[in-house]
């Protein structure tokens, strides 16, 4: 990996170099909550001053830019009894993500494993993923962040450029030729030992700030053992089966497919809609049988998929520890508490 160091004052130049030719998505302030605290969202940004690089985790991930909630998989035009099918991946230009945190970059890395791997890469995702330019920034751990437990507190890959603040300078990690070229346009130098020390100090400082944690030791086994544990039922009693947790999760990718005909009968569409395993009919099949009729069985499945099944298949969890699901859940269901209760530490 190549490294550079540059003054924070150079960043706007870098930003405008990107906005000059590309759509840039970055964190901006989206409002103020009932406690008077600002909250943030990933939105298209053209003005560096509108960016909030010191943002706390956005309420919604950047997912909608690469896994939209609704996306046409195919359109059909008919003539008589014949039809023709058109498949479009809905991407025609590269897009810049400016200011993703490590957890959100790791979310992409995890999604890559399932969506771009296997015999059938998922083209709508893969096409967008291939056309992303990602500038990561370091973050300030929040009370709900447990990314460190999930090993997602630093990003080792999956970005082009990653910036860590060291005093009034940035320590930049470069992973792509594009990023390398970009940095050539500003005053950036190779770091020396002094900067390395500063970088390590910044990272150690950040690490010290984590408060939430999840014990993942033997977790897959424990989940299997506790499949019938009564704690699931008590979480299930709280769960609203609303699927908000999946909607805000940077890695939830389950979907449903709908075929529709436009009201003027001109085209038919096959549309993918992101779904959530917490929704009541997620596992319902023809004939009306539902494999997970109770809310606790669905909630349990969500945890199994993330913390057991995915680990089995890809040797890492599908959770990045961003804490969004716990923050959004009105019923207060969150990963650290649920896992602790399953481990027999603290009740539901």
């Amino acid at each position: 990996m190549l490294f550079r160091v540059f003054d924070q004052g150079e960043l706007p130049i870098l930003f405008s170099a990107l906005t000059a030719r590309h759509e840039v998505i970055g964190p901006v302030e989206a409002g103020v909550d009932r406690h008077g605290k600002p909250f943030y969202a990933f939105e298209p940004a053209t003005d560096f001053r509108a960016l909030r690089l010191a943002y706390t985790t956005t309420k919604l991930p950047a997912k909608r830019y690469f896994l939209p909630c609704r996306e046409d998989l195919a359109t059909f035009r008919t003539s008589g009894s014949d039809w023709s099918k058109t498949v479009e991946y809905n991407v025609d230009r590269p897009r810049v993500f400016f200011g993703l945190h490590a957890c959100d970059i790791n979310a992409l890395n995890k999604l890559d494993k399932v969506l771009t791997g296997g015999d059938y890469p998922m083209p709508w995702y893969a096409a967008k993923r291939r056309n992303m330019f990602i500038v990561g920034v370091d973050c300030e751990p929040q009370p709900s962040c447990f990314c460190r437990s999930m090993g997602a507190d630093t990003a080792l890959s999956g970005f082009d450029l990653f910036l860590t603040g060291i005093g009034d300078r940035y320590f930049a990690e470069i992973l792509s030729n594009n990023a390398y070229n970009l940095l050539r346009g500003i005053r950036a130098v190779e770091p020396g030992e002094e900067e390395h020390v500063l970088y390590r100090r910044a990272v150690a400082e950040k690490t010290r700030k984590y408060t939430a944690r999840v014990d993942t030791t033997d977790l897959t086994k424990i989940l299997d053992m506790e499949f019938e544990s009564p704690v699931w039922k008590s979480w299930g009693e709280k769960c609203l089966s609303c699927g908000s947790c999946a909607a805000v999760c940077p890695t939830c990718y389950c979907y449903g497919v709908e075929e529709t005909v436009d009201i003027d009968l001109s085209v038919a569409r096959k549309t993918k809609t992101l779904y959530s395993c917490n929704l009541v009919d997620f596992a319902q099949v023809a004939g009306g049988h539902n494999f997970r009729p109770e809310s606790h069985s669905r909630l349990k499945y969500r945890y199994y998929h993330k913390h057991r099944g995915f680990v089995e298949a890809y040797e890492e969890s599908l959770c990045t520890g961003c804490g969004r699901c716990g923050e959004t859940c009105l019923a207060g269901i969150n990963v650290p508490d649920v896992i602790a209760s399953v481990r027999g530490e603290g009740g539901a």
Partner: protein
Amino acid sequence: MTRERTPDMEIPFVDVAGSPFRPPRRNDFAAFEYTYKAEVTRVHTLTAMETLYEIQLLDPEERRRFSFSPGQFVMLEVPGIGEAPFSISSSPLRRGAVELCIRKAGSLTTYLTKVPRGIRVGIRGPFGTAFPMERMHGENVLLIAGGLGLAPLRSAICYVQENRSRFQAVDIVYGAKEPSQLLFSYMYEAWRQDDIDLSIIVEKAGPLWKGPRGLITKRLKEILADRDHAECARNMYAIVCGPPVMFQYVCDQLNVYGIPMQKMFVSLERRMHCGMGKCCRCNVGSTYTCLKGPVFDYWTVLNLPEAI
């Protein structure tokens, strides 16, 4: 030091254009939503609820390349109406055509009952695991179906018929609710002629029904009663297709007769939208039924929480 104050940053676009309707390579983007265009060439009403559709790919080249194994399924699509997974019911020897035995259950399946022959449909697949027929060569085979379970099983039966000499004793045990719900009745004679022992049992029947009545397990007990357990353990395979409650009972019973659970195969049904391990809808516990299944050996099923 000189430097450009406004660096020019053009990120090259990585072309991702798909090419539907050209033969896909694996790992190719176009493979995902690749649809074989096909035609419904025959419609055969089996019962009040089930119909058999013969579906042929239109493109001769594709017809040649399309092949499958018993137990696999395809996604059948009618534009604008729906897409759903169906087990292939026909012989794997027939290239470029499949027969699907479809029960009226919702949008697509009801629509199909009303369309004329000749309608153009789309087929994706074949997907999923198959019954390991070759592994069964030289052995006794028990083919057990309850209700619509005969649909996937029939493909295996075709295979057995076509390769009859490679198998020892072959038994089909088929159970249904009532005689009017029996599927593929026009085939029974042919099966028997191929030296396949066929027993049919129904739960309820009028006075005209001459055959046995009761649950499938009852009939099974009768068949297995005089077999030697050690023998069964050594040279018997079973394929069990039907609703989960049924295959659970049957498999547990077979286990009592000594057949190892790894030699019993069942087909799981789940909701599926992609067939390629992406949509997550078919997950059992956290196993993709569409990739690791639908055919599983019973031991694996036992180890899948919430499979049954």
